[in-house]
Symmetry: C2
Subunit: 344 residues, 2 copies
DNA sequence: GGTTAGCACTCACACGGAACGAGTGCTAAC
DNA sequence: GTTAGCACTCGTTCCGTGTGAGTGCTAACC
């Protein structure tokens, strides 16, 4: 609002935040002068810091004892002050190795992605597996289990597979089901799961003829689609949390873990952040009160140009933003490749 | 060794352990006299406690400040002193409700079982899903994904389903695969997965004829079996841990969570305890040094009379043994029913 | 002889003041 | 505008003391 900060103020702010991110301790003028070569004395730094506090970039816990960045301070830092910290080649190689060693099937990609993000950033990670509404229907097959039940297998073009056991309605035979599968596949192939649910499926009705069978076909398609579309949330790094000094208090750990366990809540939070590309939300910028002293970095990814999901890092506001952002960016673009090359 | 304890000593020991399990505080003679109606004065109790300590049933942290049960003390308690604590009808109803609300498919039963055990006992729970080596092969089906890949679906009689995407060898067609499936199903139906792997499968070789196709059939069967047989471990209640006073120290929490994350280690521990029925291992009785101050109660369950897996409660030696044992016993017998009635 | 009251003794723990140190804000000199 | 100096604040650590729960021993009691 009051115009730009002069260069030295920016430099001081950056130094304060860098220091605080590393040490987790409120930073004072003398320490700052020692750690960073700013070319001025602690007294001058004190004056600058007082100004920065007045402008709302820094905060004071109580008189005496150093400053801590405010959300506004972090915001400025993220938007321009910080040094980008790209992944090293060694890190990229390590990530690739992890994927190759630990992932055998498509579904495991997301769990492993969560694990990797947590390991690298030392923070909690969240991975929302793609919403299947945009996935293309490939085919639906029935396999006989016994005389009362069939197994329904639903596949999408991208190779996601869902199966479900269903009871056969009284009076129907497995042959009925196979006939149904043919009709369904002929009519639905290539449609996205999202549109299928909305359409009336009336062609199928005509082709099947038998009303009762049509009803169960509908039921089956819907149940198969429901299980296929279910969004899954993968969590990583809940133990990394304990490494962070802000969680030396067991109460805080408990509170946070309980929040993370509330799957629906976490999904909602991720949905709220689903946008294009990388998004950083810092402390009080976050509408959710559980996250007021946390920051969350989200990245929305695309598979096949359609399917979309979100990967995120959740941590204390004191977070290595530069590192986390580079990582998410990398994981984001890398994800498609990892999935494409499965199975080997 | 030195014969039986006299009845009053037993009574005192039981009282000490009951008290300690409830309070988590070393228990002294006065408190004991206050909380339990033993009909004698604290001084007498002191004498008895001194004897019990001499005999190795109680321990002294340092002079002054009450006694704590030793592993030997807990052992006696579990073997005969404690009051059985059967589940109430309300608890059973709650468990049933949880299963009905939250489980839609066979694979989810185990995760939910772990969750329930953790919730009820307020401790960490472990559920080892059944080893599939004893499962009976029902059928193997192939479904076309695209011109290079097929989806392999493996089913067991009990309704466990595994799928896997496989690349087709060059030159083979989907029709070859379907032919292969017929041969495989005819020959393997009803065999257990464990025996299939060992047998030479030579009948299949003869029937398939083509050597190259036979090789890939072998490969496929093995890969399908491998994924089907993979044991899965489900963990529950890692947050319940934090409720226990022995985990008010973050270091201890970290250590424990890291141990629990080591899936192979935990599986080995459960395997070591796999026996018949309920087994309680207390503190130092445990060979694994990570568990020297923990107790683990395991119960081996059977499905279809063949498949077996293990459910367990892991907690501090100060644990509500009676409650946990009743619960495991119940879950154990209940599990078959829960699976049998799926899907609704 | 088992049981109990009394008493001296031990220790963990909580409380409170002193010393310390990191940090601030202000003023005056450069 | 920058910096040195200084008084002041306040969290943290360190000790000494007091308190309370508990023990073990001895001597008296039933």
């Amino acid at each position: 609002m009051a115009g730009e900060l002069d260069p030295r103020k920016k430099q001081v702010l950056q130094a304060v935040i860098d220091d605080y991110i590393e040490s987790a301790e409120p930073v004072g003028s003398r320490t700052l002068a020692r750690h960073h070569d700013l070319g001025v004395s602690p007294a001058t730094i004190r004056n600058e810091m007082a100004d920065l506090e007045m402008l709302g970039y820094l905060e004071h816990l109580h008189t005496s004892s150093g400053r801590v960045p405010s959300s506004k301070g972090y915001r400025l830092y993220v938007n321009g002050l910080m040094q980008p910290k790209p992944l090293t080649d060694a890190e990229k190689a390590q990530i690739d190795k992890w994927y190759r060693e630990r992932v055998r099937r498509v579904e495991e990609v997301f769990q492993e992605t969560a694990r990797i993000i947590a390991k690298v950033t030392k923070n909690v990670s969240l991975v929302l597996a793609p919403q299947m509404t945009q996935a293309k229907f490939h085919c639906l097959q029935f396999l006989p289990l016994d005389d009362r039940r069939v197994i329904t297998v639903l596949m999408t073009d991208a190779g996601f597979i869902e199966n479900k056991i269903l009871k056969m309605p009284d009076g129907s035979t497995f042959e009925d089901f196979q006939r149904m599968a043919q009709v369904i596949n002929k009519n639905l192939a290539g449609h996205t799961l999202g549109t299928i649910k909305q359409n009336s499926l009336s062609e199928i009705k005509d082709e099947i003829g038998d009303d009762m069978l049509y009803e169960s076909a509908l039921e089956i398609i819907h149940r198969a689609l429901d299980s296929g579309k279910r969004e899954r949330l993968y969590l990583g790094g809940t133990t990394e949390l304990l490494e962070q000094p802000e969680f030396h208090d067991v109460e805080k750990v408990k509170e946070t873990l309980l929040m993370l366990e509330e799957e629906e809540l976490m999904k909602d939070i991720l949905h709220a952040h689903m946008g294009d590309g990388l998004e950083v939300t810092i402390g009080q910028e976050n509408p959710d009160k559980h996250l007021q002293d946390a920051s969350i970095i989200t990245a929305t990814y695309h598979l096949d140009g359609e399917l979309l999901g979100t990967i995120a890092v959740l941590g204390p506001t004191r977070m290595e933003y530069a590192k986390a952002m580079s990582l998410l960016e990398f994981m984001n673009t890398n994800l498609t490749n990892v999935i494409k090359r499965l199975p080997w």
